[in-house]
Symmetry: C2
Subunit: 366 residues, 2 copies
């Protein structure tokens, strides 16, 4: 976590370096780390994807780069203002502030392409070694938690203690930023259970699974947001095991591996947003053999599932795990898959027993 | 709100009537209200869309209807079991329970089509005059609230008091079901402000807008879930004005009119899920003339926006409002639109002033 003061200093230094270049009679430049596939690597020592060392220097005095260069500087200047005002906004809010300030007719369709507006901010994150949340930019939020944990939320000039064991059916919504102005005051849970779908989270919350098992019950509601990934990283740093229960299909695996190693597209985020310690409890192809009732609850794998399984077999950080190789090969061979919801097929309350049993017998994939 | 006992009685009565038909030597039948467009009307007196009086009778002894008939009965039997067990699950969980119980190879692709699995449950809702939430079925949740209101949540055998003024940056997540086992214990807010996007909700929450103005700050996060629509209905029933701030585009208008009158597709839900009292604060085309800084923050309307505006001009419950007609005609003429995020263009904190001003001067569209 960066403090507002240190982030502001980094932004100022960036600007001062450019001024120096201009004073020397040079065109200003901006150096950042390349976020291309070819500069993405799996870091064995840490156990996650990250950017390599290849740098890229953007020049103001370049026809091809001048516009992007200017936009990057404008983003830096504008977010420095947000830090000074102590106010947050979204990327969309930033866009309108820039559009108003620059006064030019920015081509909306071009500028709002996720690839461009995100790209400018990613450039700054990488170049300054900060997170966009440190620039007072809010991002999408989606996930939920319940369990024996208390959060101190310093926000909008107030401090609020939030007891995640007293949130009823709703749970606590994981915010966009779990670092700045937020502390874990107390955490008595013994492990973290991450279930892919909110529907299953609600099922387990109704069973008070987190209370009986003294765990934190988390759902990313599908793919994890930045906030959810940061929270899981922080919980793992406190020594809590992170167990994941996902669908046995292309999407479920992707959600799991994004939590564990990060994704190719956001590899530049590195270990701050990855949990190499994460373990995959299920659902697995092996479960279909182990639990008789699941046999009639499999569904036909789609082409995308099979294609994804084949791709994953090509990733060295996956195919070094024999159990994962066996799983993926079975999907390709049988062209079957199974959803976590199927665990409720026989009895609604079975899913809790299944999870307990898996953890007790250490039946997980890495 | 139905009690579990009265819902169970309704399900039992449905079954007993079928048994009587069989005892009389007849094939069992199931009568429900037609949910077609031709049986959808705008109810002037109530101010929302609802189903008309046309009935449909499904017969078990019909080649075309036997399968659907059986599935409907299976859904009724299974949800009756959920009520007895006092456990909730999603439609997907229900699907797997049915698949396991029936033991047949249900064609997954066919059965999980939203149109079919939803359709069966909609049939029961309409036929029995209940909500799916009364059948212990959970639905997607998405929206958030902050403000001076306390909720008593009786859930999973526990009672929790939740103070919506003490939820920090996260707010309270509006659950799937705000009726069964949930009470508004205290509500001191004077009105409800609904903003389309979570990003703007976070902006206003940071400004403590709800505290300064003593309102409830709600975001549906896009289209409203059933839970959000029910909550807004309940708040309107307590006499709170409901003000809405949406994008001035096809999607924003749709979100507003769904809150106000319901949508064509879910018209069968009627007034229980509609808020005819809702008022549209903005963003409007008129705002572009009234606020100079907005003039450079408009964006080009897409074909879908213009097409939607033309469609809306054809709806009698919209085109009887002269101010809406003027708005929509201006979109069609200028082919411009504007987003709520643009209100932050000049100053991040402007949006609160804008809202206050609109309410004070009663500058809203119905």
């Amino acid at each position: 976590m960066m403090t507002t003061a240190s982030t502001t200093t980094k932004l100022e230094t960036l600007g001062k370096e450019m001024v120096k270049e201009i004073d020397r009679g040079e065109g200003p430049t901006f150096e950042t780390t390349l976020r291309t596939r070819s500069n993405t690597l799996f870091d064995e020592a840490i156990g996650c994807l990250r950017s390599g060392d290849k740098k890229e220097t953007r020049k103001f005095l370049s026809v091809a780069q001048a516009r992007t260069f200017m936009q990057t500087v404008a983003v830096a200047a504008k977010t420095k203002q947000f830090l000074r005002e102590n106010l947050h906004t979204s990327i969309r809010g930033l866009f309108y502030q820039l559009k108003f300030t620059l006064g030019e007719d920015i081509d909306e369709d071009l500028f709002t392409e996720q690839s461009e507006s995100n790209g400018l901010i990613e450039d700054l994150e990488v170049a300054l070694k900060i997170k966009r949340e440190d620039l007072n930019l809010t991002t999408d939020r989606k996930g939920f938690v319940a369990g024996s944990m208390t959060i101190l939320d310093k926000f909008g000039g107030e401090e609020t203690l939030i007891d995640l064991a007293k949130q009823g059916r709703s749970g606590w919504s994981i915010p966009s930023d779990v670092d700045n102005g937020m502390e874990i005051k107390k955490c008595e849970a013994e492990y973290v259970l991450v279930v892919e779908k909110d529907a299953l989270w609600q099922r387990l919350n109704e069973d008070k699974f987190w209370k009986k098992e003294n765990c934190l019950l988390v759902t990313p509601k599908g793919q994890s947001t930045r906030g959810t990934r940061r929270l899981l990283r922080k919980l793992a740093d406190r020594g809590l095991p992170i167990y994941c229960l996902m669908d046995c299909d292309a999407w479920g695996w992707y959600i799991y591996w994004t939590i564990k190693t990060g994704s190719m597209n956001l590899a530049y985020l590195g270990r701050d947003f990855a949990v190499p310690e994460a373990r995959f409890l299920g659902v697995t192809m092996k479960d279909i053999r182990d639990f008789e009732f699941l046999q009639k609850l499999t569904i036909k794998a789609k082409d995308v599932d099979v294609k994804r399984a084949e791709e994953m077999l090509g990733y060295p950080w996956i195919n070094r795990h024999a159990d994962w190789v066996a799983e993926l090969k079975e999907v390709i061979k049988t062209r079957k898959k199974i959803e976590q919801d199927a665990l409720q097929g026989q009895r609604l309350t079975f899913v809790g027993e299944y999870i307990n049993n898996k953890i007790k017998k250490k039946q997980w994939l890495s």
